[in-house]
Structures are given as structure tokens and as C-alpha cells.
Symmetry: none
Subunit: 252 residues, 2 copies
Amino acid sequence: MKRERITQIAELLDKRGKLSLKQLGEYFPKVSLMTLRRDLFLLEEQGRIIRVRGGAMSVKDVQKTSGEPYVKKTTIHTDEKIEIAQKAAGLIDEGASIFIDAGTTALYLAKEMPDISCNVFTNGLAVATELCKKKNVLVNLLGGPLIKDNLSTASSFSSIYFADTNFELAIISAAAFTPENGFSCGSQMEADLFKVICKKAKFTYMMLDSSKIGKIKPYTFARAEDINVLITDEAFPEGLKESFKALNIVVM
Amino acid sequence: MKRERITQIAELLDKRGKLSLKQLGEYFPKVSLMTLRRDLFLLEEQGRIIRVRGGAMSVKDVQKTSGEPYVKKTTIHTDEKIEIAQKAAGLIDEGASIFIDAGTTALYLAKEMPDISCNVFTNGLAVATELCKKKNVLVNLLGGPLIKDNLSTASSFSSIYFADTNFELAIISAAAFTPENGFSCGSQMEADLFKVICKKAKFTYMMLDSSKIGKIKPYTFARAEDINVLITDEAFPEGLKESFKALNIVVM
DNA sequence: TTCCTTTCTATCATAATTTATCATAAATTT
DNA sequence: AAATTTATGATAAATTATGATAGAAAGGAA
């Protein structure tokens, strides 16, 4: 049914932020791309989405909500971050207690997360807001001074806060990685927070898209050997994968 | 049996959300599709379902899918709240350190607030997000478990948190007020938080639109004499104004 | 730039769905 | 039982949705 399909497309776009026509085609294999194209046109007329070359994006795009500067993209490139977020979402079990960070990938993870009963700690406002849509997820926000450019909190206070709160799983992402410098990020406070988190958590899952490899940021918060699972995308170099595996880290 | 069939169709649609004409035909093999079509037409006239090409959907289903993404609870008394928020915004001075609560009026206040250098503490996610748009305002978010229906945090932890943070001004709003029961709200945690806040702050400004008067909520957190300034709207009863003024409270 | 590839638009033919109309059957009224 | 209303089913006409295709436009690479 047309009406239903269009609704689904709109929902999908709200959730994913942007989609290429090809991706849409995978979701709706029964109809032709031409039809989907027409659906997008209709949705654009209603002001519910924005059509761009290659696909479409939701009106309130992810960049806006996560606080990243809004750049109007003219083309759609499939986001590795979503791929990673979907993988990570699949690893969350009922009843788990998890920390999730405040990054863009984490926001995608929040969107992709199953609505199962679990506890989630986060320092990201957008992540927290997103998670509030899930009925069964208990959300716990880390307080403190807000960092405006990524809508996150990170204070020296966090270690005290975590004294009485526990989570078994930390799913975090780094802004940069090299084998020599490990996982690093641009903020001292965040690095400190991550150190505490990693120590606190029984398992640390690192979400790292391949664009971060070879980059270095000022503050290292973990080494390769400190993590348990590395979640990454297709383009991740095989050699590096092997060296992670050699450290007994699951790469997926 | 027409009547009965139509009721069954309506119930079926309520349960399943949406049905194609073909599916309906399987449920009612004794009648022709034309008849079922006519039934759907009647149901639509009564406003019980919505016909779409290929079948029909329940009203609820359509509303759900075409509706807003999140808690846009139809706020009433919007104008009064904005009026109050504007008054409150005018009372904020450069360099001040303020606590703002998580309510709807507080959100308007965040929007109306001048972009001057000051410190704002809040337990509201929406308030915090809004304030992040102001360059000069330092935002400090109270952490803890999130209450999903108003996107606020309120935990037993807050008093510890406030041990080392200071603000001179608390601008809060109550869900209800009577002279006998004072200012009250619907959540114990929030009431506790407000008590701590009022004690901590040098001055307490209460934003109270006139629709709250005469209502009582389970948890009282302050009495009339505990506040310093009452910010309200035009419709606020004169008599009550006088009794506040008699307590040396500024009413505006 | 120029060429090449991809994506988009426009158009048409076809398929599916709905509406309109009429005749008949069933129920209801007189 | 006859007359009248109402419900149903069948059919054709109209509308709408879809898929295919060719040419136009846009983006990327040499």
C-alpha cells in the first residue's frame, strides 16, 4: 500500500537521518526505484523530508541534533557510522547496564538500539533525548557543565558520580587512533571520563570508523589492549584488524 | 448482518492497524469486495477509520505515523507562559548564577533569555539544549536518572552535587498552588530537589501562571513566604496578589 | 575544460484500484 | 401479498499507481 510505504520511508528517514535511493530500494524490494523516487517527491512536497541528489535526508538532520555544525550536503554518502551503530546495537542484551558516549556514532547507536529493558548511562544530551523514546530503556545522564559544540557533559565530578553506579559494558567511540598513540580525543575532560569509564566497565566496546585511523588527537584515553571488542566498518584495513585480533580483541 | 459485519471490520482495523481490501475479503468470503468497499466508505463517514488506496487504516495508526516525533504535548496556556517567561528573562543580570527548572515555562524562559554571560544550572534537557544556543551562557546540567515524560533529571544525588556549586537565584515553577498547601508538584524527587534549590539560592523567583491556582499536587516544596518574587500573568487574582505582597514578596 | 558515469525528469503504457451505474436480491413496510 | 426500501453483486468507466525507457542534468575524473 502506497500510504503505508510512504509513512515507513518517512519514519526510516527520521531515524537514519539520510538514505540513498539504493538503500531505500533494499528496504522496499517489491517496488521499483522510480516509485520510491516519486514517494520521496511527495514527502518533500509535504515538507517532511529534503530530497538531495542520490537520495533524501530528514528535515532535522542528525548533525543539527548532535550539535555539529550544520553543513548542507548535496549528495548522499552512506554512513559508515550507521553500519557500526547497527552492529553495536546487536550486541546489547536485555537487562544490561551500559555506558554510551556522546558522539555522532553513539547517537546513531541510540537510534538503532532495541527497546529492551536495560540501563544506559551517557554524557550526551542528544543520546539521552533519543533514548527517552524507548519505553523500556532507563536513561541516566551524567551531569556537569555542558560542552556546547557536542552537547555533552564531562566534569571532574564524574568519578565521584560513578562511585555508586555500575555498568558492565562501555560502548564508546574515539576521535582518533594510531597503534602508537592508542585511542585519543580532543578534550581532556572527556579523556578523563573515558578512562574512568573503561576502568569501571567489565567490557569495553570501541566503535571506530576507518576514517579515524592514522589520526592523532591530544588526549589518549586507552590503548588497543584496553578494549575487548572493536566495532568498525568495511573499509577497516585488514592488517590492523589482524593486529587487534592478535591482542585477543574481537573485531567486527 | 450488515451492521454486524461493519462492527467486525472496525474492530479488526483497531486491532491490526491497517488492512488491505484483499485481506478483508479473506475475512469475509461471503460478501463481494464491492460490499466491503462500501462498508469502509460508511466507516470513514463515521470517522472511525481512514480509507487509503488499497485498503484502510485505523485512525490511531494514521495519527501515530503522521504525528510529531516526540512529546509535543499540546501545551495550553502558552501565551501566559511566554508572558511570564519574558518577565523572568528581564530579571536576569550579567554575571548571575541561576537555577532554572525543567518545566514548560522554564523552556520558554530559556528561549527568551538574553545572551549575556552568566551561569545557569538546570535539570531539564530541553532547557539545557535550548540554552546551548546562547554563546555566553554557561550551562550546567544536573545529572541522574531521566524522567521520560518531561525530560528532566532529579535524583537523591542532587544535594551532594550542589554541595560545591552555588547560585544566587533560583527561577522555578510549580505545578500547583493554594495558600494552605503552598507550592506543590507531582514528583517526590522534584520536590526534594526544589527544596534543596530554594535553600541553596539567595533569592527564589517563582513562575506561576494563574491556571495553577487552587490546584493541589502531592508534594509541597515551598510555602508562599519562602519565595522572594512571584512572576505571573494578567489573570492572577488581585486578592491573592495582595496577600503575597503582604508577605513582602514582589509580585510582577 | 571534456568525457564518462550516475542520477533525475518526463513521458508513455500498463496494471491496479476506485467510482458510478444498473439490475437483482433481500428485507421491510403497508 | 404487493409495494417500497435497502443491500448486494456485476460491470464499465475513471482515476491512480506503477514500471520502463529515453533524454536531460549533475557530479566526478582525467
